[in-house]
Subunit: 553 residues, 2 copies
């Protein structure tokens, strides 16, 4: 009998911010029983994933072993933790567990995919636990920026693991349970602390959500016009802080943007936002003097279709920003989103709207633990080993350094790395193939399928389509025909590029020998070469080429 | 006789950071004599300008009036001020003026385009001046981050204009003349101060380049491995600060990246960098113990082909970063470049290289004037009106506010706005059509030509090519043929997308009436519609379609 192995395997989130998906296994090596923690998404960008709608972890490895999965545990309701539940459930078909608010959001996602919501079980917090194969899993309340965020205590025959999920140390977080240091110090012997890394480069102690209430209320109170504020809709703590500040400043609050309304609704339904201020509809908002109105809008990252971008473009649901109004970004711009955000700021500037953003740190605090708070967490849990998760490589590496300098063993494990936790020290137990799955329109495609690569090439190089007809005698019928897309009309010869291409290709066809004309592959290869050479000479660019050879035979 | 008009017209740089190009005019309205200040470029990005190599101001308005241009004045040798000189000279054909270092860089650009470098005249600084039509222009030394940066004093029959160019207030700038407050207070009656706006949101007083020397030398001295540092090659002040710090820390300095070597060479040729430390070649660098070596490399913005990206990918010119080495970003990441920079940081992290960036502000200062320095400049020059230039709309608007609150008249003028400075108060004198010209490969194309739009569409939606052959009787010959590029193979029907498309198009062709089959436009329109509808149903995406209809008749 082979001995049992306790393993940790990140499939998403370790080597990036977003797309969290972690696997724990226990049992005979290569036949472990498995649980999954979080099924999150990340977002595409034009640079690397044009046309893609959403990015999911590649769960092929799990899918091939789905009879060994005893449960999927969702720590909280942020998209990068719960967003892939609907998209990936059918490939895993394992029971899902979450606390009530997270479950509410998760069920909406399952419903959108026509999946029976009974596969998701609502769980009470620690000290209650869920038995899942050899695992016993408890949801331990932890402060973050959304209700009922939880870390997990995962008990296994080989010892206890504590998985923080996303967290900050905040004893007055606005929504969700205050951080309970006593609770987080009470787990006894812990084999491994698997810990959020995103803010390891922030050296200052983290600030409480509650510190924002007064500055934001003061800001709103001193404005003469309408005030609009944006944050992540899923940052429910902030949405509440902003709404309460608006009310404190004597304004009626109106939510704009579907995700904003949906999140508040989920919070109200589950009772975790019972004390959320009353809001008015956009229709009613148009009837209120602008100095008595506050809008709470989606689109803090400059997303093109969100409410903030719509307001920056003009009217949205009958409401319009004007000279003398104020727009507050109560958010941090995620790297890569700067251009979109700056565009909105400049559009508002053109309207005469004053934009207030977070340069002073007065109107935004992070939902994640800064370095001193990570160090505090390490000490509270006192695990044998700290495994940094959720972060880019630089975050994981720095977090491992921080842990080691405080005397904790640590190991850097990026997506696809199996960490064997069975012995006294963690060790690499192998690697699995992993990556990303793209949701493209309604289809899931692999990141290595070449689809996105071809799109990027067309975008960078333009696209020439060559059509040639070959008759029954394997002779060209007429001239080759070219269509250009995404290319300049005229190049170095001062003649239309399409003419020069057709001329050069026609010359080639006239001279081509019978063997070449009979061979589609050869013909295509030669014509592509000529088109690239001609375009390079004419416009200084090697174009993408598609050849269509039609044979009448 | 119509009275004369004094006008200011930005064609680039006013409404953006980069691509500076400003026009001043004096003479009968609509027949003014003109001078141009700066001919800069800006850089493309995948989001909005995929495949484009460089972005130039659209100078059509100037080109149409080129017989009225009396001179082009280049304030300094940064790409966003001098970068378009070679690309646009042939369209303007007016004499160019610059100080020696700027002229050296400018002539290299003219040479690259086969233009006689005599069109560029080297000018001595103020109090010398150049007569250009009704204008008398003097180059006034001002501190920035590159040698011989200059503001311009522009005398006209209607009064004096002071154009700052890019600047900071630095009495110890490392390269270039120290800021001379007495000189900048000596211009007497000034009609308009046209003033750099980029740092108006930075509220702290600007810091001198010289404050970096000690912290950087200290950082380098305390590293055990090789040290590499990156900054903009054109930030010659920083290149020098870094090289001197390396030498002070007892290391040999090696420049990597063509633009780095070219800039230092230009500085040495013109004598403005006579005191630049001796450097060694990459070949020699491979022979030196790494703890005695410092690399100075291009690519501070994560540019894919620059030295920093190459080092992050592996070897570059025989040199390789290793565990224990240090990489310093002595630079600020320009919004939009974050992803590229972060990618490099993570690659280095994977190698075990420690990356130091500017979060503390210890290793980088800006080359532009912060708000208090702008206010100081306003006072020193004491112009009737302050016209904010070089900045996005939000910068221009804020700068105008700052000016007004100190009692100076001000006006916001974005690209294409003619400001009439003839009277006692500035007023809008009209608008001209303006925009951007894309250098795409070797061809200049207009931003509204639709080329880039088509590329973006192919990147977002994929591309389907439909080929149909119509015989002599206007009947389809065989089935329609589809080629897919950038699209998933299989959609909702679980059959190849290409088969479903060909099937649907074939059905349509079979049923199409003679009139449709005779009409290319109608046929194309219908087939495009069907392809979009089918793809939407199959893969949830409306594809881009190109139709090639070949008629045998």
């Amino acid at each position: 009998m082979s001995s049992n192995r306790l393993m940790y395997l990140p499939l998403g989130g370790a080597g990036e911010v977003g797309m969290n998906c972690y696997v724990y296994g226990y049992g005979p090596e290569h036949d472990e029983r498995l649980i999954v923690v979080d099924l999150g998404v990340t977002f595409p960008d034009m640079d690397s994933t044009p046309g893609v709608d959403l990015i999911l972890p590649d769960v092929s490895w799990l899918q091939e072993r789905r009879d060994r999965i005893d449960g999927i545990f969702i720590t909280h309701a942020h998209e990068d933790h719960v967003g892939a539940v609907g998209h990936l459930y059918d490939r895993l078909k394992a029971p899902i567990y979450a606390r009530a608010f997270t479950a509410n959001i998760g069920r909406r996602k399952l419903e959108e995919h026509g999946i029976d919501t009974d596969v998701l079980t609502t769980v009470s917090p620690w000290p209650e636990t869920v038995e899942a194969g050899p695992f016993k899993v408890g949801f331990v309340p932890i402060s973050h920026s959304i209700p009922e965020s939880s870390g997990l205590v995962i008990d296994t025959p080989a010892g206890r693991i504590v998985h923080t999920g996303d967290f900050k140390i905040d004893t007055n977080p606005g929504v969700g349970e205050p951080f309970d240091a006593e609770l987080w110090s009470s787990f006894g012997a812990v084999k491994a602390l698997v810990c959020d890394s995103t803010n390891v480069f922030s050296h200052a102690e983290g600030r409480s959500e509650s510190t924002l209430a007064d500055p934001i209320a003061e800001l709103i109170r001193t404005q003469d016009g309408m005030v609009a504020a944006t944050t992540f809709a899923s940052n429910i703590a902030r949405v509440k802080t902003l709404a309460e500040a608006g009310v404190a400043a004597g304004r009626s609050v109106c939510l704009l943007g579907r995700s904003m309304s949906r999140m508040v609704q989920a919070g109200t339904e589950t009772g975790v936002l019972a004390d959320f201020p009353a809001v008015i509809s956009p229709e009613d908002a148009t009837q209120i003097p602008r100095e008595n109105l506050m809008l709470l809008v989606t689109g803090s990252q400059g997303e093109r279709r969100a409410a903030s971008a719509q307001l920056a473009n003009g009217k949205y649901r009958g409401l319009q920003m004007k000279e003398g109004d104020t727009f507050l970004f109560s958010s941090k711009t995620i790297p890569g989103n700067e251009r979109g955000v700056i565009k909105i700021i400049n559009q508002f500037s053109e309207m005469g709207v004053d934009v207030v953003d977070d340069h002073g740190g007065l109107y935004h605090v992070s939902g994640h633990a800064n370095r001193p708070d990570l160090e505090a967490m390490h000490k509270m849990v006192g695990a044998q080993v700290v495994i940094p998760m959720h972060g880019e490589h630089r975050h994981l590496r720095e977090h491992a350094k921080v842990s080691k300098s405080a005397g904790f063993d640590s190991i850097i494990a990026v997506n696809g790395t199996i960490v064997d936790l069975s012995g006294n020290a963690p060790k690499i137990g192998g690697y699995v193939e992993t990556g990303r799955t793209y949701l493209d329109g309604s289809v899931q495609v692999g990141m290595l399928d070449g689809i996105v690569r071809d799109r990027i090439r067309m975008a960078l190089n333009g696209h020439v389509i060559i059509t040639v007809i070959i008759d029954e005698n394997d002779d060209p019928l007429g001239e080759p025909w070219c269509e250009l897309k995404g290319l300049p009309e005229v190049g170095a010869s001062n003649a239309p590029l399409v003419d020069v291409l057709e001329e050069d290709l026609g010359q080639f066809l006239m001279r081509a020998d019978a063997k070449t004309l009979r061979d589609d592959d050869k013909l295509e290869e030669q014509m592509k070469r000529i088109a690239r050479k001609t375009s390079q000479a004419e416009i200084g660019k090697k174009v993408e080429v598609t050849c269509v050879i039609s044979r009448l035979s």
